[in-house]
Point group: C2
Chain length 337, copies 2
C-alpha cells in the first residue's frame, strides 16, 4: 500500500483540489514512479471538461510524466529502483495480443490509458506496467522531457510510420504544443518545413524553431503559395478545416495525417484522393520502441519542447493559462522540489 | 492523312452513329494502331452521358484497345509496324515533367486522355504517343486483353502501390467490371479475399473467380463478420456508402482505397483513422511500366477478364446491356474481323 498525494478534479470542469488515494500492492509487472515533473497536455483539459464522455471523477490528470523508479514488481527485468523514466498516455498493454507481439503496443485493444479509469501524474507517485515506463537517456533535461512522452511521440511517430524522407517538403497545421515539436523534429529530419498557423504573432518564433516558411491561414488564399508541393502534412489541430485546400497543397502521392481529434465528420471528395493518388491517415501516440528511438533522436539533436514551468501547487493557474490559449508552447508542472 | 471510320455520340446520351474523321500527319513520337478489339468501360458510358461535364461531341468512346501498330513516327524506338499493343485511358504524357521522369506518367499534369478532346477506339484506327502503346506479351488472348488496359490496371496498380502482401486478408467492394478483376488478381497475389456485393445471385461466380468469402452488403450487419480483419479494402463502386462500416472492417494500419468516382463528399470521422492508425487513399489507372508488369503477371497466372463479345456494329446494344447492369463482367467489341 502506498499513499499518493495528488490533485484531482471532482466534477466536470471543476477546479483541481488536493486528493489522497491508496495504491494496492505492486503486481509483478508493475513499477511505481516518484513524479519529478509532469507536462500538461490539451487532453488533460479535455478530460477535466469531460469532452469525450470517458472521464471518471475524481480524476487525477497528468500523462507527460518524468520521474524516478521507487519500486519494481518481482517480474520486472529491465528497470531498477533509481532509474529515471518517462510515462505518457498509455500505462499498460496486454503484451500478448497479435498487435502487441507486432510491436504496436499503442494499438493494443486493451491498452490502459494513464488518466482513464485510473490516476495520472499530477501527484507525487504514479504506477505503470514496466513496458510504458520508458528509460530516459543519460543527461536528458528532466525539466523539459515530460512533453516528449505524449505531445512528442504523437507527432514523431507519424513521421517514422509515414516514411517521411529528408528530401520531402512537408507541412504542419497548428503550431501549439504538438505542432511546435513537429516543426523541430522535421527540421532536424532534414525536411523543408512549412508551418500553417492562424497566429501571425508567432511567425518569428516559428521560424526560429526551424520552419522555412510560415503561412497565415486566416487568409485561405495564402495556401496557394504551396499548391502541389507538400509530400506530407501533419494536422495537429482538432478543428474541422477546409480539407480540400490542404489536399491541394499535397504533391501527387502525398499524405494528410491527422493526430488531432477532429470531432465532426470531415467531408472528403474521393476524386481529390483518386486524381493525385493522395491519402488521408491518422495515428494515436506511438509504440514504446519508437518512443525510445525518439528520445535518442532528441538527445542527438538537443530537441526539447519550449516550456513554461509552474509548481504543482499552481496547477489551476496553469490549466487556465492553457485554456486561454496562452501557453508558449507547452506547460510543465514541477512536482518534486 | 489517315481516314478513320468510327462510331460516335453526337450529343449527350445520344446513340452512337457511324462517323468519319481524318488524322493529320503522324508526329515523330506517335504511332497509329489498327484496332482489333475494344473493351467497353463504365466511363465510356459516363462520357457519352456527359456525367463529368468534360465531354466534347462528336465523341468516339473506347479506351480498352487491343490492336496492331500500322505506322510509327520517326522518333519511335521501341515499336515497329506489326507489333501487337494495348492502349488504355491515357494516350500521351509530357515525358519530361518531374512526375513523368519519376515513372508516374499516369499522374502527369498534362496527360492526354484517350476519349477527352480526341477520339477513342470504337473505330478502325486510333493514334497514341508511343509511351502508352503497351507491348502485349506473346501469346496473350487478344479478344480478352482489352479490359486489362483500363479496368485491369485501375485495380492492379493500387495492389502494387499500397504494398499489399500475400499474407494479407483483403476486401473488394463491388464485383463488376473492375471488382471481378481485382478478385482474380488478389487471389493469385496469394491473399485471403473477401468480396462485398449487393448481388446475391453472383455468389457462386465470385467464389469461382477466387473469393474465399462473399458478403452480401444489402444487410449492413453482415459486415460484422470481418470486423477488424482486412488490411486493404479496394472500393470499385462510385456510390457513397457508409464508410464507417468498412473502416471498421480494417485491421490496425489498414487502408481503404478508392478507384471509383464517388461524386458526393464522403463524411469521414478523423478518430476512426487516428484510433487504429488507418488510412484512406485513391488512385487513377497506373503507369506504363506497371501496366507492363500487370500483363506479365496475367500471362504467368492466365488471368483474363470474364467477357461478353459484341461486334462493333452492335455497339448501341452493348452499351444498353452495360447501362442495364447486365454485363457479366466486361464487354468487348470485336472491331476487325
Amino acid at each position: 500500500m502506498r499513499q499518493v498525494n495528488a490533485y484531482a478534479a471532482f466534477e466536470s470542469k471543476g477546479s483541481l483540489k488536493p486528493f489522497q488515494y491508496q495504491l494496492p500492492e505492486l503486481s509483478p509487472e508493475q513499477v511505481d514512479i516518484r513524479v519529478l515533473y509532469c507536462g500538461i497536455c490539451h487532453s488533460d483539459l479535455s478530460m477535466v471538461n469531460n469532452e469525450w464522455r470517458t472521464s471518471q471523477f475524481p480524476l487525477v490528470p497528468g500523462h507527460e510524466i518524468v520521474g524516478e523508479v521507487v519500486a519494481v514488481g518481482s517480474g520486472v527485468k529491465n528497470l531498477q529502483v533509481g532509474n529515471k523514466v518517462g510515462l505518457g498516455w498509455f500505462s499498460a498493454s496486454c503484451m500478448h495480443c497479435h498487435t502487441c507481439m507486432d510491436g504496436d503496443h499503442h494499438l493494443c485493444g486493451s491498452a490502459e490509458q494513464t488518466i482513464i479509469g485510473r490516476h495520472g501524474g499530477f501527484a507525487d507517485y504514479v504506477r505503470a506496467h514496466w513496458s510504458w515506463a520508458i528509460t530516459l537517456p543519460e543527461g536528458i533535461d528532466l525539466a523539459k522531457a515530460g512533453p516528449l512522452l505524449c505531445g512528442g511521440i504523437t507527432v514523431f511517430y507519424p513521421i517514422v510510420a509515414s516514411e517521411v524522407s529528408p528530401v520531402d517538403k512537408v507541412g504542419v497545421i497548428g503550431i501549439g504544443g504538438l505542432g511546435h515539436l513537429a516543426i523541430k523534429f522535421l527540421k532536424h529530419w532534414g525536411c523543408e518545413v512549412v508551418a500553417f498557423t492562424t497566429s501571425a504573432d508567432k511567425n518569428e518564433q516559428i521560424k526560429a524553431m526551424g520552419a522555412h516558411q510560415v503561412i497565415n491561414t486566416k487568409d485561405p488564399k495564402s495556401l496557394a503559395a504551396v499548391k502541389g508541393q507538400l509530400k506530407f502534412i501533419l494536422n495537429t489541430t482538432n478543428v474541422n478545416l477546409d480539407w480540400r485546400l490542404y489536399l491541394n497543397c499535397l504533391t501527387t502521392k502525398g499524405k494528410l495525417h491527422h493526430v488531432g481529434a477532429v470531432l465532426e465528420p470531415m467531408p472528403i471528395q474521393a476524386m481529390t484522393l483518386v486524381g493525385g493518388e493522395k491519402s488521408i491517415g491518422g495515428s494515436p501516440l506511438g509504440s514504446p520502441a519508437t518512443t525510445q528511438t525518439m528520445l535518442e533522436f532528441c538527445m542527438r539533436h538537443q530537441i526539447y519542447p519550449t516550456v513554461e514551468e509552474f509548481p504543482l501547487a499552481k496547477v489551476n493557474e496553469a490549466l487556465a493559462h492553457l485554456e486561454a490559449g496562452k501557453a508558449r508552447y507547452r506547460i510543465v508542472l514541477r512536482v518534486a522540489e
